[in-house]
């Protein structure tokens, strides 16, 4: 464990150092470019174009896993740090000024949203992944609906068997009134994202309070139901967090592809009408 932390820290230091070095190099070249009376926006513009295309290649790399193009994890690291470098180039390009033209406003907004969604995704992948690893059984996201259905069917069978075998409807009533909806669909998504677990304690307290009204055979059934409730809550937890980890890409990727044609048009207009040599 300690060794992996050291490796992670060292990797972060190395990658951050490389990024910082490239950023300093960009600033120096930017200054030299301005000193030689060139329009630095063409320089930073091309850096931006290169950065955006390079970042988009990460997605292409994932689509073509068979090619020997290094590991996806390595690409992710490049993607993350190149993203920060591209953001710096963006600020150099815009001069920290807000755009005024509609097309430039669109381009600026798209890039800012891409950057923000990327930063949010990076944060989520750091925070939520750690929480997922620390939270019980780790099901595959696509299997969670099936597992949830299995649990629901199992609890329903236990409730029916209790009523049939012991002629007591206490558990069956409780299942109908409280647990049926709980097992029918994912619940408490916001509570899981924020880490609150009050809902689970509330359910388990209810189940515990039923023990005084049932005999020993039903207590055993009730214990199995309580275990299923905990398992279902764990599935909901993973469903909420894994779903969120997948959801930010629904913002990041469409914006990333949408910015390409707008940037291309911006470049054509700049070269055609800026009236200056790069």
């Amino acid at each position: 464990m300690g060794a992996s932390v050291t490796t992670f820290l060292w990797r972060r230091i190395v990658h951050s150092g490389i990024t910082a070095t490239l950023l300093v190099a960009l600033l120096v070249v930017h200054h030299l470019n301005s000193v030689s009376l060139h329009d630095t926006q063409f320089l930073t513009g091309w850096v931006l174009v290169g950065g955006i295309v390079g970042l988009a290649c990460y997605n292409l790399r994932k689509k073509v896993p068979v090619l020997p193009l290094a590991s996806a994890a390595g690409w992710l690291q490049v993607h993350i740090y190149a993203g920060w470098l591209t953001v710096a180039a963006f600020f150099l390009h815009t001069g920290l000024r807000l755009p005024r033209g509609p097309l430039e406003v669109a381009l600026w907004t798209l890039f800012v949203l891409i950057s923000l969604s990327g930063a949010v995704g990076l944060t989520l992948s750091r925070v939520l992944a750690r929480r997922l690893g620390e939270h019980g059984e780790r099901p595959i996201f696509e299997r969670i609906p099936t597992l949830r259905a299995d649990l629901a069917r199992r609890v329903e069978d236990l409730a029916l068997a209790s009523a049939r075998d012991t002629l007591s409807i206490t558990i069956a009533d409780y299942y109908r009134s409280e647990l049926h909806d709980f097992f029918r669909r994912p619940r408490h998504r916001l509570a899981h994202l924020t880490g609150f677990r009050r809902h689970l304690r509330h359910l388990l307290d209810q189940i515990d309070s039923l023990n005084r009204y049932i005999d020993d055979r039903n207590r055993d059934t009730l214990a199995q139901i309580a275990a299923c409730v905990v398992a279902k809550d764990n599935l909901d937890y993973h469903y909420a967090l894994q779903g969120t980890l997948k959801l930010w890409l629904f913002v990041h990727l469409p914006l990333a592809y949408s910015v390409l044609p707008v940037a291309a048009l911006h470049a054509v207009l700049a070269y055609a009408f800026a009236g200056i040599s790069p």
């Binding site: 000193v35 009376l37 059984e137 997948k246 629904f250 949408s258 009236g275 040599s277």
Partner: protein
């Protein structure tokens, strides 16, 4: 651990693989345990199949379900061989990955669609603009006003983007409104050679660190540095539009300036070169030695009361408040120097000789057997440069002058026969020029000065023939002609003098004799001999045939009867004086030596006529302008004034014309300047200073020299310096000498590298006033070797400049101009676009226009 979990989803073999990386997933409900192992295909079709493909074994069918699927089923296949477990087909559903790709495709499609709408729609200009224009450019309503290709659509834009040569083409649209000279996109809008010269000059005198900073060196290695000889800088390089209505697009950073300026410094207080060019780049245009005036002349008791009290007695700001000008001559110098122009202090002639009858060696001419007719033998005047200038416009006369060359016409003993012949014909030409003046006045002699007038008009001068002749009065010419050539008409009626084939003695005996023009000679030769027969009627000076007197010959002798009344200059007959000839000579009167326009007479002067040679007749005394008899007024009709004869001029003609004008002195007509900015002197000086446009370079030099001596009347060049044209404009070809008629003036069309506004700084000067910045050079006081006056002998106004002032020190400016106080940016004091940029005019046709809309 996982085995104990209620979900038990890690039980491996009992579960199927869900293929989340595929676009389609099995569509069976989550509660349905029968998720098929095959799953949907790539197009989203259900891939469910029977549990197995039964194998026939003899007459029985065997189940082949694999062990992973539960092994062979207990029921076995149906009798017909079909599997008993037929699948239930589902509607496959998209995976999250597929949904993400679909959403990305939709977003991309929408983006492209919007771009197509933007590029082809009517709101294209509004949507593609990169921001509002500045207020000044806000009147440009459409993009094509500055971007010529914008209206041609995206394909043209793409072509333009890929065409490097296109990028500066739209600069011409900028230059359509902004006049920046002939090289607007070169560095500083100046020709490369001019920039190279300035660069060399600046670097030569720079005492700072000549090594460029590290970043400049690196930049020159990585990026191509601007080359002054070839680099063209587009307008957009520095002026970025579309950044808002109130943005100053002329603002430039110091770094932008120092992109080219390799000798860099931090600010005006830190490394700025001294202002050595401020006063020494060019000498002053008006030769005024401040030091000698302030330290010597103004302290003289004779001039002390006339000395200016303060600097603003002679200098004032122009209307813009930027420039300090020198006030007019009357306001500054006239108090002491007005008399210098009139020649009051000159020992010799106070006027300039314009027309003169040159002295000729009449004895030698006679010995050579040539008769030039009447000629004042006492004259020893040289031919004036003015006369040479005028005579040379006739090519035959020019050739005569060339033949004469440097021969002294007053001593022709060593002259060749050709030169003798040329002198004789020149003498006739001078008589004819005089006759032209007498008979035709100014219109007749305009041909003598037409090239001069045309040349002056090309230089913007308003000088005309009247100016160049000094508005010479006819009476002055007539009076002079009578003195010099009493029988001018008779002389001119004679054939041209011809050198005989053999002359009595002298070198001419061995020289080929000059011959007269043949009968078929060129009629355009105004000096050619008139043919014997037939007479050329066009020759107004030729002898008129006796049988048919030519009435057009206004100088010919009038026939005895009847007198030609049209000849206003012909001698009036004694019997019947022509009353219409108001300028005609009074008959039979000897030349009146008392004429104040004439020279001092040898005989006791008759001082009864101050203008003309009037006879001592009672009638003549009644009219000072007309020598003809006019009835005197009755004695009681006029106040009793002293008789004109009793008012002899008490001064000589030169003093009589002390305030300027024409007068005659012996055998010359002289012009005395009328005051400052005399148009006659100024016009002739302009001609003398001009680069020869004919073939009279030597005479033009002589003409210029006649103005450029300490004794020259008018003393124009005592104060007005003369520049060589090449040195003056810096980059032009050698042209004229330029006479600086004015002190340096503010020319709004001239934009120099440095700008300074005086008025805002007046409140900041110390008790030293103007000398807070303009310090007098104390070391030059009273020293003859200061070189101040000597510098004006050179034509180059920028060579070895000696100034009366030390320039202001950079520390003086830097005391206020800091980043925190008055500012210290480069463009606060320096301009980028340098040159002469005339303001645009509005080309409005002179016709009635329809009412403009709105």
């Amino acid at each position: 651990m996982t085995e104990s979990q209620p979900t038990g989803h890690f039980k491996g073999r009992s579960r199927t693989y869900d293929r989340p990386n595929q676009d389609w997933l099995c569509g069976r409900s989550a509660s349905d345990p029968g998720v098929c192992r095959a799953g949907p295909d790539a197009r989203g079709r259900c891939g469910a199949a029977p549990g197995c493909a039964p194998r026939r074994d003899g007459d029985r069918w065997q189940c082949t379900r694999p062990t992973a699927a539960g092994g062979p089923c207990a029921d076995g296949p149906q009798p017909d061989g079909a599997c008993r477990h037929q699948p239930t087909h589902c509607a496959p559903r998209r995976s999250l990955r597929s949904w993400r790709g679909w959403l990305t495709g939709i977003a991309l499609t929408i983006t492209l669609g919007l771009l197509v709408v933007v590029l082809t729609g009517s709101a294209r200009e509004r949507l593609l603009t990169t921001g509002p224009l500045t207020l000044d450019h806000g009147v440009i309503k459409n993009c094509t006003g500055c971007h010529s290709l914008f209206g041609q659509g995206p394909a043209a834009w793409l072509n333009a983007a890929l065409d490097a040569d296109h990028r500066h083409r739209d600069d011409r649209l900028c230059l359509g409104c902004h006049e920046l000279g002939t090289t607007p996109r070169h560095i500083h809008s100046r020709p490369p050679e001019a920039i190279a010269a300035v660069t060399e000059e600046v670097l030569d005198g720079h005492h700072g660190n000549p090594n460029p900073p590290l970043d400049v060196q690196l930049a020159s290695l990585i990026f191509s540095p601007p080359d002054p000889a070839s680099t063209e800088i587009g307008c957009g390089t520095c002026h970025r539009e579309h950044r808002g209505a109130h943005v100053d697009i002329r603002a430039m950073s110091n770094a932008a300036c120092q992109a080219c300026h390799q000798v860099q410094f931090a600010s005006i207080s830190d490394g700025h070169p001294p202002f050595r060019h401020f006063l020494t780049a060019r000498r002053e245009r008006i030769i005024f030695d401040h030091v000698s005036h302030l330290k010597r002349h103004f302290l003289d008791r004779d001039f002390r009361d006339k000395a200016p009290a303060t600097c603003v007695s002679c200098h004032g700001s122009d209307p813009t408040g930027n420039f300090m000008t020198t006030l007019s001559f009357e306001a500054t110098c006239a108090a002491c120097h007005r008399g210098d122009i009139g020649g009051a202090a000159l020992a010799g002639n106070k006027g300039i000789k314009f027309l003169a009858i040159p002295g000729l060696d009449l004895i030698e001419l006679k010995q050579r057997g040539i008769d030039i007719g009447e000629w004042p033998g006492q004259s020893d005047e040289p031919l004036t440069p003015f006369m040479v200038q005028m005579l040379r416009h006739d090519r035959h006369l020019a050739s005569l002058l060339d033949q004469i060359g440097t021969v002294d016409m007053r001593d022709l003993r060593r002259a060749t026969p050709d030169q003798i012949q040329a002198v004789a014909r020149l003498a006739v030409a001078i008589k004819r020029m005089l006759a032209d003046l007498l008979t035709g006045g100014m219109p007749m002699v305009e041909t003598y000065l037409t090239p001069e007038v045309e040349h002056l008009s090309t230089k913007g001068s308003a000088a005309d023939f009247g100016t160049l002749f000094g508005h010479l009065p006819a009476e002055v010419v007539r009076s002079a002609a009578e003195r010099w050539f009493p029988h001018l008409a008779d002389d001119l009626a004679k054939p041209l003098p011809i050198l005989p084939a053999t002359t009595p003695g002298g070198a001419a005996a061995t020289m080929p004799a000059a011959t007269g023009a043949p009968a078929s000679s060129d009629q355009s030769d105004i000096l050619a001999d008139a043919p014997a027969v037939p007479p050329d009627q066009s020759d107004i000076l030729a002898d008129a045939p006796a049988a048919a007197p030519d009435q057009s010959d206004i100088l010919a002798d009038a026939p005895a009867a009847p007198p030609d009344q049209s000849d206003i200059l012909a001698d009036a007959p004694a019997a019947a004086p022509d009353q219409s000839d108001i300028l005609g000579d009074a008959p039979a009167a000897p030349p009146n030596q008392s004429d104040i326009l004439g020279g001092a007479p040898a005989t006791p002067p008759d001082q009864s006529d101050i203008l003309g040679g009037a006879p001592a007749t009672p009638a003549n005394q009644s009219d000072i302008l007309d020598s003809a008899s006019v009835t005197p007024p009755p004695p009681d009709a006029a106040p009793k004034l002293p008789a004109t004869a009793a008012m002899p001029p008490a001064v000589d003609p030169e003093r009589w014309m002390a305030n300027g004008g024409w007068y005659r002195l012996d055998f010359a007509l002289l012009y005395r300047p009328t005051g400052h900015a005399d148009s006659f002197l100024r016009s002739w000086l302009e001609i003398a200073a001009s680069q020869p446009y004919g073939q009279s370079a030597a005479n033009r030099e002589a003409l210029f020299a006649s103005f450029n001596t300490p004794r020259s009347p008018g003393a124009c060049l005592k104060c007005h310096s003369v520049d060589g044209a090449r040195a003056n404009n810096g980059d032009g070809a050698a042209e004229d000498r330029i006479i600086n008629w004015y002190a340096r003036r503010f020319e709004p069309e001239d934009r120099g590298f440095t700008r300074f506004s005086h008025i805002p700084h007046f409140s900041l000067v110390s008790q030293y006033g103007c000398q807070t910045c303009h310090l007098l050079t104390e070391g030059a006081v009273g020293r003859s070797d200061s070189g101040f006056r000597e510098q004006f002998r050179r034509l180059d106004p920028r060579a070895n400049v000696v100034t009366n002032f030390d320039g202001p020190a950079t520390r003086t400016c830097a005391s206020c101009h800091t980043a925190e106080a008055a500012g210290d940016s480069c463009t606060q004091c320096h301009r980028y676009h340098v040159g002469r940029f005339p303001a645009r005019s509005v080309p409005t046709r002179m016709e009635v226009m329809p009412t403009p809309p709105g």
